[in-house]
């Protein structure tokens, strides 16, 4: 039914039947071409062209206000939901423009984790993870339970919550809540996972857990992470892009960017002279 290569993806996942993105393969590559974004009359992003390879972690770094959050929010079409926001340029997911797709479908394939963990407070842990699945039509209770468990395992949270799935999500610590949000996102089987400063609100131990998780997740998904913590980028990312004032100044493999930056501004930021 679907032409797909079988690398890295659990074919026996209960949600396999649920995937019908026939033209997309697993862990897709993203590409942006000359993406500019404006908010009312103010230009936030200028002509950003970046290739985000599949099954790798790409980090976006830069000082506050450089447009990195805006950039990542364009990738799942969240930017346009703000009143007064416009954008131009092309964004391709697996070679297909995301503007040709229904926004809700884009967001199903391109998941996002936010800076402040935002599980649905009126729902239990299980309901949170199942929320996305239910939204997209999965009703069968047994499958929901299975998928939820899978997602929680993938998010390295299962062992901590397996006995208390029916507690409210607010009963968890902040780090656990963030992993719950990750589980919720993973449950609907995205191909790209966007993370907007996922650990900046968390304590160092939770940060470590998240970073290990990222290392694990990239085998199955493409990860884009925005971070203001330069060391974090150095730790987790395969590729890093440096943004400043709405422009992408430089990009490259993390090692290259950090050890031999081409642009002086990159060097200054990376070594901590500003930002």
């Amino acid at each position: 039914m679907l032409l797909r290569s079988t690398n890295n993806r659990e074919e026996n996942s209960p949600t396999a039947i649920f995937r019908d993105r026939g033209y997309l393969k697993v862990g897709e590559a993203l590409e942006t071409r000359s993406v500019s974004a404006r908010f009312n009359q103010q230009t936030i992003l200028r002509e950003v062209t970046l290739q985000i390879p599949a099954n790798q972690v790409t980090a976006i770094i830069g000082p506050p206000g450089c447009g990195k959050s805006t950039f990542i929010r364009c990738l799942n079409r969240l930017h346009e939901t703000t009143p007064g926001a416009t954008m131009s340029g092309e964004i391709l997911l697996g070679g297909h423009s995301i503007y040709d797709m229904d926004p809700t479908e884009v967001r199903r394939s391109v998941a996002m984790i936010f800076q402040r963990p935002n599980p649905f407070p009126t729902m239990s842990i299980f309901d949170n993870v199942a929320a996305g699945l239910r939204l997209h039509g999965l009703r069968n209770r047994a499958r929901l339970v299975e998928s939820a468990e899978q997602a929680l395992r993938r998010a390295a949270l299962w062992n901590e919550v397996k006995d208390r799935l029916h507690l409210y999500s607010s009963a968890l610590s902040l780090g656990q809540q963030q992993r719950l949000c990750i589980a919720r996102a993973l449950a609907i089987d995205p191909v790209v996972v966007l993370m907007d400063e996922p650990s900046s609100a968390l304590d160092p131990l939770s940060t470590l857990v998240i970073e290990e998780l990222i290392e694990d997740l990239k085998r199955q998904y493409t990860i884009v992470i925005v971070t203001h913590n330069v060391q974090q980028a150095a730790r987790v990312a395969d590729q890093t892009a440096f943004f400043l004032d709405g422009e992408m100044i430089e990009k490259g493999t993390t090692t290259a960017l950090f050890t031999t930056p081409q642009d002086k501004r990159t060097a200054d930021y990376v070594t901590g002279r500003f930002g």
């Binding site: 969240l78 884009v106 967001r107 936010f114 935002n118 997209h136």
Partner: protein, 304 residues
């Protein structure tokens, strides 16, 4: 010394203010006390049965609140149904509209709706609502001839009341929705929810309390409305069958009842109705405030 005199002034000032507070609160107590004292003869005469005596008969010195309770309950129910459904959905619409000018225009119109006095609502009711309802109902089926002639009745009064209460419901529901945390809504959108799903999943659960409060406050307002209702309800204290029948409500009867001529018992009975109205309004108002924080009701949008 200068410091002492400033302190002195300070103290005097504070005392003056405190007196003002006492005056304000005292006025309210005076209100309630006057009602109780004026109603005393009637309370003594009829006791609790006042609530279910269904006659208002000066000739036989028999007074009861039931017909008016009936009228009030019916009109208020219709009003709240209208105001609730239309008001809440409009509020949701306003929060979802991204077009700034449209939102401002609709908000402006609703604010003006809230400032218009009841008399003018009454005129509009006579001028527009009654004839329209007569025409609509005539087309729908058989209606009592009395209604077809005048357009007065419970239904008309209920509709007008609904229009009057609606701005309150809209304003308060908007506040309730605005106070819902935005990052939860973003989480829903990021999961791929449609607008309708986002509202249902991430907005309404937080707005529920505020919406309930707004309905209670609307109830309080609706019970207390006298002028507009008295113009179209038909002013006949009867417990009729259909919505097209004439009736009378607690507040609207008060508008006509104190003519200065009439036995002391009658006057006392009228005040007892007033007392009843005071109690009902206070209860619902209190309930509404229990659900809605004080600051949520912006000073600009005081509905009454």
């Amino acid at each position: 010394m200068k410091r002492v005199s400033t302190q002195g002034w300070n103290g005097i000032f504070a005392s003056v203010l405190a007196v003002c507070v006492l005056v304000v609160i005292g006025a309210g107590i005076l209100d309630a006390a006057t009602l109780i004292i004026a109603a005393a003869p009637s309370i003594r005469e009829f006791g609790v049965s006042f609530l279910w005596i269904s006659a208002w008969n000066p000739i036989h010195h028999l007074y009861g609140a039931l017909p008016f309770l009936y009228g009030s309950l019916l009109t208020v129910s219709i009003a709240l149904l209208l105001a609730g459904v239309i008001g809440v959905t409009t509020a949701v619409a306003l929060t979802q509209i991204n077009v700034q000018w449209l939102r401002s225009v609709v908000s402006l119109l609703l604010e003006i709706l809230a400032v218009i006095p009841s008399v003018i609502y009454g005129i509009w009711a006579l001028l527009v609502v009654a004839p329209v309802l007569v025409r609509l109902s005539g087309r729908a089926g058989a209606v009592p001839g009395e209604f077809a002639a005048s357009g007065f009745g419970v239904l008309t009064a209920g509709v007008v009341l609904g229009v009057m209460v609606m701005p309150t419901v809209v304003a308060l529901t908007r506040e309730a929705i605005a106070s819902a945390p935005k990052d939860i809504a973003e989480a829903a959108i990021a999961l791929g929810a449609t607008r309708q799903e986002t509202v249902a999943l991430a907005v309404m659960p937080f707005a529920r309390k505020g919406i309930l409060g707004s309905l209670y406050l609307g109830l309080a307002r609706a019970f207390g409305e006298a002028v507009a209702v008295s113009l179209v309800i038909g002013n006949q204290p009867q417990i009729g069958g259909s919505l097209f029948a004439r009736a009378d409500s607690l507040a609207s009867m008060l508008a006509h009842a104190l003519t200065g001529v009439g036995s002391p018992l009658q006057t006392a009975a009228v005040y007892e109705i007033g007392l009843l109205l005071f109690l009902i309004t206070s209860v619902f108002y209190g309930l509404g405030r229990a659900y809605i924080a004080r600051d949520a009701i912006s000073p600009r949008l005081q509905p009454w």
